[in-house]
């Protein structure tokens, strides 16, 4: 089981003192937070990609490259890489480069982005969101797996004999998750390739994601990558903690009430009841997230959103301490209990290389490769 942090990188005014960090302060804070994630014993740091304020991370590989140099074990990921408005050729190159720089500690999460104006700024149309996600990813798959690619599609210029460089580290492409809030097409895409499926799990009720994940698991099995319970699932989540749960509620409420996305809407009580947001004692967070496997099955990765809504860096680092010291060690034990042997661990580069090598030895095409060849 992999635990980690994902951030959207919002620059938001702290409602308790009306102060707003500069972009520079926020970017530096994110880099500090990432290093703290490794320090407190978590495995993954994932960074969003946005091209509109109030979000700063427009260039994830730059930030992740720095974090790669400052950490030793942390897996660097995105949340999400915009497979719609980015050129798949540039994604193939950028992330293969990052993979080398980070000695394989890299995976990606694909997403479509949801802000209309961003698409035309990059010469695209939001109404083509799904077709772009499908076509661009099909090309990205090939660029990482075939040395010379001849390709023609609807959304970018054709390629003749193109070789994306550098080639992926050890000849194994970064693992890919597909993030979706509501589209069965994306769950289908993840299942087809045998890739991971990530349910953001922070905005909507669990019932919604339960249906989406169960659909992905069924389709994963349908495409021959293994049994449904062996599919690779990641979940988001968010929490705010204090020793005394009433203190957590009191401290977090102004941030909740003014947060981008849900501020000025539902009460914190309604929102915590209807979504996985948990505001309270570490034990409450443990209970809530230990229960996730009952809803979604055994899964591989749990990411938390902790540094948003104007929370000061100091508070975020304290939250990461609580998470790392009190919550995650217990959750690790809970998730390990009665975990079936056939449920895979969270993906790592080493595991993917070993799996590829084992498949070569057995001369049986490994499922992901087989699907691509079809």
């Amino acid at each position: 089981m992999q635990f980690g942090i994902f951030t959207v990188g919002d620059v938001t005014t702290d409602p308790t003192n009306d102060s707003t960090p500069t972009e520079h302060q926020r970017i530096k804070a994110i880099l500090t937070i990432a290093q703290k994630v490794e320090e407190v014993g978590m495995e993954v740091f994932a960074l969003g990609e946005h091209h509109n304020p109030p979000f700063v991370p427009s260039s994830p590989t730059t930030m992740l490259g720095y974090i790669a140099a400052k950490t030793e074990r942390l897996i660097l990921s995105t949340a999400t890489t915009l497979i719609t408005t980015n050129d798949p050729v540039k994604i193939a190159e950028d992330y293969a480069m990052l993979q080398h720089v980070a000695d394989g500690r890299v995976d990606l999460m694909m997403g479509r982005g949801n802000t209309g104006p961003v698409y035309p700024w990059f010469g695209k149309d939001i109404r083509d969101g799904i077709p772009l996600a499908i076509e661009n990813y099909a090309l990205l798959q090939r660029l990482w797996r075939e040395d010379f690619v001849n390709w023609e599609g609807k959304f970018r210029s054709p390629l003749q004999g193109f070789q994306s460089t550098p080639r992926p580290l050890d000849g194994v492409a970064p693992f890919v998750w597909h993030g979706s809030i509501r589209s069965p097409e994306i769950a289908e895409q993840a299942a087809y390739y045998g890739d991971g499926f990530f349910a953001n799990n922070i905005f909507w009720p669990k019932e919604h994601y339960m249906r989406l994940i169960s659909y992905y698991r069924q389709r994963f099995e349908h495409y021959g990558h293994g049994k449904a319970e062996e599919a690779i699932v990641g979940l988001g989540g968010q929490a705010f903690m204090a020793k005394n749960s009433q203190d957590a509620v009191k401290q977090f409420r102004p941030y909740f009430d003014n947060a981008p996305v849900y501020g000025h809407g539902p009460t914190m009580e309604d929102f915590t009841e209807q979504t996985p947001l948990t505001v309270g004692s570490p034990q409450q967070v443990i209970d809530r997230y230990a229960g996730m496997r009952e809803h979604y099955g055994d899964y591989q990765r749990q990411l938390f959103l902790m540094d948003h809504a104007g929370l000061p860096l100091k508070t975020v680092l304290e939250q990461l301490d609580i998470l790392g010291e009190e919550v995650i060690p217990v959750l690790r034990k809970e998730f390990a209990k009665n975990r079936p042997a056939n449920v895979p661990d969270g993906p790592t580069h080493e595991a993917l290389v070993a799996k590829r090598d084992a498949a070569l030895v057995a001369s049986v095409p490994e499922p992901v490769e087989a699907a691509v060849a079809n």
């Binding site: 077709p131 499908i134 097409e185 769950a187 905005f203 009720p205 996305v261």
Partner: protein, 209 residues
Amino acid sequence: MTTRRIAVITSGLSQPSSTRLLADRLADATARQLATLGIDAEVEILELRDTAQDVVNNLMTGFPSPKLEKAIETVTGADALIAVTPVFTTSYSGLFKSFIDVLDPQSLTDMPVLIGATGGSERHSLALDYAMRPLFTYLHAVVVPTSVYAASSDWGSTGDGVAAALPDRIDRAARELANLAAESDRSSRVVDPFALPAGFSPVGGYGAQ
């Protein structure tokens, strides 16, 4: 005897509300008309003011509360819909539009709809035809030809040379809706939220092979 489910949405803000009163009259008349066709009507009336906070929250967060989700399913899964609003500043009320805005834009396709409105003066009656009717046309609903507007004075009037009395207008509109509702099988259809669009391919359909 067969049954048809009729959903009624009314966005009057006061209680009691003349908009609710008109909605009740339209629902009763529709049930009566269905009975003459040998069909039972299961009528569910939703006062949108009861879900006002939930509707705003849905606009802010993108998902409905359990209570609002139930209301949405009642509306979108009915065989026919009666929609009544007070006229505010030349159009439907903001609450009414906000509720419509949280529905999936495809979810009212082919829905038989009877539209009604209330207002202080008969001068606002055309709001039904320049605001309510285009709204439902956009949603690909099937709006019956007769819409029913009730001004304050209509509740004590027997009609005049221009308009029939309110009960006559209600009956005519209800008959039109009942005929469409009788044919509607929406409530018995299974909707699969994970149905992929026809021709969808996980590797793309544009020569991206």
